[in-house]
Amino acid sequence: MAKPAVLTHPESLKRPAGPSDYAKDPVNASMSKAEKIALYTKMARIRHFEQRCIRIYQQGKIGGFLHLYVGQEAVAAGTISLLGKHDHIITGYRDHGHGLMVGMGMNECMAELTGRVTGCSQGKGGSMHYFAPDKNYWGGHGIVGGQAPLGTGLAYAVKYMGLKGSCLAYMGDGAVNQGAVHEAYNLAALWDLPMIFVIENNGYSMGTSQERSTAHPGCLAKRAEGYDMAWDVINGHDVYEVRAKTALALKRAHEESKPTVLEIFTYRYFGHSMADPDKTYRDKEEIKEYREKKDPVLAFEQELLREKVLTPELSQEINDAAMAEADKAAVFADESPDPTVADITKHIYWEEDNRGPDTTSRGTIIFE
């Protein structure tokens, strides 16, 4: 396979985490101390929630697939921290971090993983299918790439209703090879939709490295040029950089109703899912390198310590509280009831759940 001659990666990605080049960017400089602490707290909460999930999975209480977000926190945190009332998001199956960022509670998130009726989807969706439409979060989608057209539709609806908003559709570096993604790119560009495609490039799609899966002109985002779309590359280990560059794309969406492709370089510390032994396709050394030199949560903590926004004591407090919250969520999930057999056939059709004189169809709709 032809290797691209020049890789278009952000400069800051090439060195270990240090003082952020983007601390002085207006979107970051204008943050209050409290806002910065809140952002750090959210990142820490994602980290601890996910690590608690590992234990629960190992106890056999979470089945199926569990895709962890550990290592990628700054992507969801940076992008979602910028969003307003008419900005929407949608993602794939690696969806817990986004959920916590939009304000879902750990309880409902944890209970969904163990299939309880108190879960965000009442135990019907599972890890890959979180939803919180009241928080502009449209899922949680299990089929690779399927969320890209849906997100484009959300952006279309925002524009149609004359609202100043946008949609961010997140996907992985492997998902960019789905036809549906390219069709969505074209529609977003052709119809000037307020759309941001966020590629969370963690280097691998399951056991396949990006070089083995994807032909590209230096980076994945650059494919946007074929659709006359703006694009950028971002160091996803630096939450300030994520915010600074995403803010420009949001401005483009809000003020010009134009789409953008953002490729955010990031890394996952665990296997593709808990079912992946993660032994064959990458070096332990590589994981170690990222964990030790580029960790997004640690990097932001260091940044805030330098800024004297955080103190070591406060940071400890925040982390302890996040862990305690995750522990409580685990208990909540344990003590919650399952859905019932009767619940299996609920929520299939709006009409079935809302039978009344106004509903229009007749006939059998659920079969024995």
């Binding site: 199926g64 969706g125 057999v341």
Partner: protein
């Protein structure tokens, strides 16, 4: 005869066919370097090299379509879908192209492609990953569909599928991958369209396919032990072509039929089988035909409820007793 797993049986089929015919190519996501998401293709890259065993990007419409195109020129691709649920992004290729090309070309073009992978629920992965599309696909003339339930059938059917000159879609089951059974060492095939009586009996016929066969066999055992009923279990093995005669012969013997499948009930495979029995053996029946299928809803995530949603041994026993009442 060796005792091997369902997974190993599938692998052996591919190995032998890769050796027999240099036009056979294995293709799919993670099939080569990762040795398969479910390790069905383990070792094949090492043995046959990257020309014969090929990793693809996550582009089902693209690579399945490519396989169909290559088959038109005489390659015999065996494409793995990590789940049959992912076939839905390639539906046009699988149905419209593979299923129609021979017909629309007036018989000028053949499409000897095999697409294989798991199609089952019961693994706690939610609605998007738990589809069983055998009935949907088999409802398209031009397409063949098989659903092996045992290692012996898995190997024999896959080998037959690879040698077949039409598109054959093989629906496997992740829950069966570790099941063991006797498989001959010598070359054999299980012809498409031949059902198998997995258990003989005289009081009731159960018709099933895929994992429902295993469930039905367990239920048959209980019916015999606890209720003194002799149950015959007919494993369809192949959905299209369908072995009508084996089904009818069994019903003529027992005069009662229970149909069990993992599909949702509406237009499931058993709707076709029930029609067949009443149209060709109506006078033989001593009781109405009953069936057990999955509870009619998208697959629920909660494992405890998903186990209830699928046909289980208790439900099969209960329904069998109703047919016998």
């Amino acid at each position: 005869m060796a005792v091997i797993s369902y997974r190993e049986a599938l692998r052996a089929a591919m190995r032998e066919e890769l050796k027999r015919d240099d036009k056979v190519v294995i293709m799919g996501e993670e099939v080569a370097q990762f040795n398969g998401a479910y390790k069905v293709t383990e070792g094949l890259l090492k043995e046959f090299g990257p020309k014969r065993v090929v990793d693809t990007p996550i582009s089902e419409a693209g690579f399945i379509g490519l396989g169909i195109g290559a088959s038109m020129l005489g390659i015999r691709p065996v494409m793995e879908l990590m789940f049959w649920s992912f076939s839905y992004v390639a539906f046009d290729q699988i149905v419209n192209n593979a299923g129609n090309i021979r017909y629309m070309s007036g018989g000028l073009i053949n499409c000897p492609i095999v697409i294989r992978g798991p199609a089952n629920g019961g693994t706690n992965v939610g609605a998007t990953h738990s589809h069983t599309p055998e009935a949907i696909l088999a409802s398209h003339p031009g397409i063949k569909v098989v659903c092996p339930a045992t290692p012996y059938d898995a190997k024999g059917l896959l080998k037959a599928a690879i040698r077949d000159n039409d598109p054959v879609y093989v629906m496997e089951n992740t829950i069966l991958y570790n099941d063991k059974g006797e498989v001959p060492d010598e070359d054999y095939i299980v012809p498409l369209g031949v059902a198998d009586v997995k258990r003989e009996g005289i009081d009731l016929t159960i018709v099933a396919h895929g994992r429902a066969v295993i469930t039905s066999l367990k239920a048959a055992e209980i019916l015999e032990q606890e209720h003194g009923v002799s149950v015959e279990v007919v494993d369809l093995r192949s959905i299209r072509p369908l072995d009508e005669e084996t089904i009818l012969a069994s019903v003529r013997k027992t005069h009662r039929a229970l149909l069990v499948e993992e599909n949702k009930p509406f237009c499931g495979v058993d709707a076709q089988v029930a029609y067949l029995i009443q149209s060709k053996a109506f006078d033989e029946l001593d009781a109405p035909i009953h069936r057990v299928s999955s509870i009619d809803a998208p697959q629920i995530y909660c494992k405890r409820m998903e186990d209830q949603q699928l046909p289980d041994v208790n439900r099969v026993v209960r329904e069998a007793l109703k047919v016998l009442a």
